[in-house]
Symmetry: C4
Subunit: 214 residues, 4 copies
């Protein structure tokens, strides 16, 4: 029925289109200043900062989604609905980003911003659980499964903490969110096994392709 | 001519891109409040509710489109035009969603909202008819064909009813729309055979892939 | 290097994404009325009419693009640049559509609207020339090549006429544009051979697939 | 794990969707004039000019991205992050385009506009380095590698110069940017070898396909 194409192909292609629209919709909130001087860009720092952080977050979301989808074998109803829940939460990011930018990182909006991150992570946890349940043990060992889950729960805990902290000190809460994202930039540290395994698969196919062409 | 790619591949990829833009365009109607307090989010409930319901509807549309496209073999002119009619009706959802949100679920707008759902369903019925006509009887038995059609007609009838009810009591009409959507969340109940059949095909390919890797 | 994927695959996928954004961006110009009554929808007829006509035009553009891309073998620089010229002209449609809707089909805007259609057609002619030059004669016979070109030139002439007519009577000019589009809805009439040939290829693959599964 | 699909496939598909949204988002900044006369279009020349130049730039970015992705074998973390950096810088183009259009090419905005071009080029240089490092020497000879790099550095230097020039004479700076883009329209001149090589691969697959069908 779907010879030659993986059954999850259309699901990931659709998700990619949604991620692409979300990540660029945020640009629309960057309104150019009315004045024609470079110094007129300075008051835009809350918008620039929040746009950058949100961009980074969506990029990390996409990378994790991309990596996990390699393990999913079939677009089961569970996987589809967790994916839609995940996309729904992700689609709230432009809204919450605009709000913290407009209010120059006020307490309430930053709390809400962190809460959106928490909800994105909860939905992703469901997606991850479902995708990994389709992979065999030879691909993902029990140790790696546990490590992946622990990493996801620590991230979730950090975002919950950031939401609470934001209520007292929005800048500290926002800073905590940034720290978590920066840790994610080097994903091999906490979820090392999974990453290395996926990486090895990639390197292998690169090597094969090189041998073929040389 | 199109070796290695299915002839309907580009049609579904294009449709997916349109669905992705529609589902995220609605986010643009969620304007962050001017105040920086969490309580300022409360008056946004009509927007939040209608956005959520519309998101759910587009998700269900996508799932049905995704499932039916597995049966379509070729991008015939009939399939292409029914698909464009379907996408056109679907693209009215952000407009009607914004209208019910702005008017806090007033009678006229909710009637129009339900009418858009009716038109989406009529166009989908044409697409479904065309897609299933391309499938052999071994894939889709006559019983399943009839069940699928009955299910579609019942849904259509419920949305027509919701439109009429909305004229007298917009909240009841809107509630009826929500009920129909919630029933769709468990698609195996009314169109069981079709779903199970498609599911079985997926599970088979999952099993094959697992055997290959282990 | 690109085993399993056709060299024009990424070009058409990119074009599809642009078409999808263009066709849905126009929805953003449909602003819901401030009043909550159905009669408030009536003054929106210029917007609704022009959105529908533009949607129809982009749909026809997509169908023609889709059909021609089956003949293109490689993403040559010429094909890529004609394609970008074509997409550029197409991306002016939302702008010209909004203008005729805002001015309720005034003379100047309708003239400009028809002129955009002319420019889209000129760019498409270049794309068509390039795509067909890559096809062998067994796929596209010289007769069909000439017919296709004649059809494209007649369409171009009709749009040029519509632009001139619009200067004296905008409604007649707009009506002429609509007539041309309606003729395109049955593409087998003027460009019969090409269409039938492409269709036959599709039907063949449908038949093969059916035999495989039964 | 990803049999039948290249490992970079999803990365390029996602990038294409982002490019497609960016290139069409700029259209939204073209607001139709309030008057219904053709002469009302004349004051829009700064918007039309800057939109056209930015469109051309994104088209060239896409073409270079497309060509380089043919050499990349695997979606390594380095390639993914350079790609995200590249997309981020590219997504600033609609913002800077709107600013130079609104201020009718004032000094500050044109300087910023050229600076965005510089940043896009720096990120692309990283992407290029990473993609070419995955290609074998039989595909890309050391001479071609050096030529490609030299070409990229010259472009970068020209954009830096344009940014400085814009400070004294914005129109000259903008003109310099245009000149660089026009040179890129004929890419075979400075990076001849790479282009010819990729071209040859394409022509070969065209020839093979023709032989197959005839």
């Amino acid at each position: 029925m779907t010879d030659g194409t993986t059954p999850t192909e259309r699901l990931t292609a659709f998700s990619d289109a949604v991620f692409a629209v979300i990540i660029t919709i945020m640009v629309l909130d960057l309104k150019p200043p009315a004045q024609a001087t470079l110094s007129a860009l300075l008051p835009l720092w809350p918008a620039a900062l929040s746009y950058t952080v949100s961009y980074l977050f969506v990029a990390i979301i996409w990378i994790n989604h991309h990596r996990l989808s390699l393990f999913a074998r079939g677009a089961t109803p569970e996987l589809i609905w967790w994916n839609f829940a995940h996309l729904f939460m992700t689609s709230l990011i432009p809204f919450s980003t605009a709000w913290i930018a407009d209010t120059k990182l006020a307490a309430g909006p930053v709390l809400f911003y962190a809460a959106v991150f928490v909800m994105v992570n909860i939905a992703f946890l469901g997606y991850q659980q479902e995708a990994l349940s389709q992979a065999s043990d030879s691909e993902v060992s029990p140790t790696i499964r546990r490590l992946t889950q622990v990493r996801a729960l620590i991230t979730l805990g950090a975002f919950v903490t950031a939401a609470f902290v934001a209520y007292w000190s929005p800048l500290s809460g926002f800073g905590l969110v940034c720290c978590v994202l920066l840790i994610y930039l080097r994903p091999q540290v906490p979820g090392e096994g999974l990453e290395r395994n996926a990486h090895r698969g990639h390197l292998k196919s690169i090597r094969d392709a090189k041998e073929e062409t040389s």
